[in-house]
């Protein structure tokens, strides 16, 4: 668990980059830090590995202040994915991936094994090992950047706009792959992005920052459902209701099934989003049955979905 406790960063010229931010990243969760440029999101994150030294406040990892840990040890125990990829052009892919293991003094055989394991995990062919970053595509390089951060099996990974330099299709692919990987690993992750859609998709919780202050810190669906103020609502965008539908699952709104109701031709799964449900309803009419493991467990109608967005929208207006 990472705890940021009233952290402040004031630069020499008096600029306040981060102003009294407190937040907790629970073990195994991904927290995305999002906000317009200059909001202090990267500064906040790099306080954790002390690339940014704190002016006031404290950061604790599993209860222990990072000020009490040797800074080199601290960084070697935290994975770091750098903006614009940051691979070393003069090192092969294998060398890039095994930097931290190498710094920690792993033997050659163990490093090789780890490189092979990671290449498999990030779905790259083994023969890229001896190639240089310049020979890889942007998406492949970014995968290597992620593998490098995971190499020494850190409990914490910091990611600074890791997919920012990619085209939308590749970005989407990598986001999905990373979510899969993350499910298997259970690493605690802080993830900086300026893209609210990415923040909502990748984060178990989203921290919205503005001018160095933490504006709202909530799970994606709560952020969508009840943005704290106009800034957050505007930042989420005009299509807030649609995003909200993507963030809520059928399971959360379905009603008990009517007796004798069949599964129909194309039933919903409880884990489908309301966005999928609404699209099916437009095509097939409502109510739609919800089926899990071959059994009808509930049903959803357009009114149920409408109720979710109404209720949450009215909460905001109050």
């Amino acid at each position: 668990m990472i705890e940021l406790d009233n952290v402040r960063k004031v630069y020499g010229d008096g600029t306040v980059a981060v102003d009294d931010v407190s937040l907790e990243v629970p073990e195994g969760e991904t927290v995305t830090l999002v906000g317009p440029s200059g909001c202090g999101k990267t500064t906040t994150m790099t306080m954790v590995n002390r690339l940014t030294e704190i002016t006031e406040g404290d950061v604790r990892i599993d209860g222990e202040s990072i000020q009490d840990t040797d800074v080199i040890d601290l960084r070697r125990n935290i994975g770091y994915v750098i903006q614009e990829i940051g691979l070393f052009e003069h090192m092969t892919i294998a060398e890039n991936i095994s930097i931290v293991p190498d710094l920690r003094g792993w033997d050659e055989e163990r490093k090789q094994e780890r490189v092979e394991e990671l290449l498999e995990l990030i779905q790259l062919p083994q023969d890229v090992k001896t190639q240089y970053p310049a020979n890889l595509s942007g998406g492949q390089r970014q995968r290597v950047g992620v593998a490098r951060a995971m190499a020494a099996e850190p409990d914490i990974i910091l990611m600074d706009e890791p997919f920012g330099a990619l085209d939308p299709i590749t970005r989407d692919e990598l986001q999905d792959e990373f979510l899969d990987i993350q499910q298997k690993l259970d690493t605690t992750i802080m993830f900086v992005t300026h893209d609210i859609d990415e923040a909502l998709k990748m984060g178990d919780r989203v921290a919205v920052l503005r001018d160095g202050e933490l504006v709202q810190y909530d799970a994606p669906k709560d952020l969508l459902g009840s943005p704290k103020n106009e800034f957050v609502a505007n930042f989420i965008g005009e299509d807030r209701v649609l995003k909200q539908l993507s963030a809520v699952t059928v399971r959360e709104v379905m009603n008990a099934p009517q007796v004798g109701e069949g599964a129909g031709e194309n039933p919903l799964s409880p884990d489908d989003s309301l966005k999928v449900a609404l699209q099916r309803i437009f095509q097939q009419g409502d109510p739609l049955p919800v089926v899990e493991d071959g059994e009808v467990v509930g049903q959803v109608s357009e009114a149920d979905i409408q109720a979710v967005t109404d209720r949450r929208t009215s909460e905001v207006l109050q």
């Binding site: 590995n49 601290l74 070697r76 750098i82 052009e89």
Partner: protein
């Protein structure tokens, strides 16, 4: 006046007829040049590293090295003779001094210009300052550092010619004798050999650079 083709023919004839002394002078020439480049390398590249760590000294040191390069070698060499004596020694001292600017400046600039994001990446991954220097900064600055070494080597091979005037030996002897005797084929012949040595050294160092890890893109 000679027609050009005749000059070329005469020059080749001279080179063949005098191959014994040409080879001897080439060896002397290389000896003076390479000794100087070697000493310069050991002195100036580390000085460039030092300046990278201590920025405040960079302007005065690089400024001085630049000033040295403006001193005409025909003036610097006789000035050194009372201090270090005649022969190879003043030549080596002068050549080491002339190498200072390209080597120091390129080492310093190369290190300073390593992409800030790369340095940040290294730090973030937990490298110490020393690891950062040897694993990231120096390898990334190597093309620029090498360009400085190559430039210094070519410069030194050229100026070694002048050193012959003050008793350091080398191909300059043939050139100065040729001028005194008004014997163009000898001047031209020895000059061609100096140029060939300079070009070969430049390409030789380029080959070394390419053979280093990640150096395949070097030009």
């Amino acid at each position: 006046m000679y027609p050009p083709l005749t000059i070329l023919g005469d020059t080749l004839t001279w080179l063949v007829e005098n191959q014994q002394s040409v080879i001897e002078q080439t060896i002397q020439h290389l000896n003076v040049s390479l000794t100087s480049v070697g000493i310069a390398l050991v002195l100036w590249v580390p000085l460039g590293l030092f300046l990278h760590e201590h920025d405040e000294f960079a302007p005065p040191v690089i400024g001085t090295a630049g000033m040295i390069l403006t001193l005409p070698s025909l003036a610097l060499l006789p000035l050194l003779i009372p201090i270090v004596g005649i022969g190879v020694a003043p030549a080596v001292v002068a050549l080491v001094l002339y190498s200072a600017l390209p080597m120091i400046r390129n080492t310093y600039t190369g290190l300073e210009e390593v992409d800030e994001s790369m340095v940040r990446a290294g730090r973030g991954l937990g490298m110490t300052d020393r690891e950062l220097l040897f694993k990231v900064k120096i390898p990334m600055a190597l093309p620029v550092i090498f360009a400085g070494i190559r430039q210094a080597a070519v410069l030194v091979i050229g100026i070694t010619t002048i050193a012959a005037f003050f008793g350091a030996g080398g191909l300059g002897e043939s050139i100065f004798a040729g001028i005194r005797l008004d014997f163009p084929r000898q001047v031209l012949g020895a000059t061609i050999v100096v140029s060939v040595i300079a070009i070969a050294t430049d390409y030789g160092l380029l080959a070394v650079q390419r053979a280093l890890p990640g150096g395949s893109e070097a030009t």
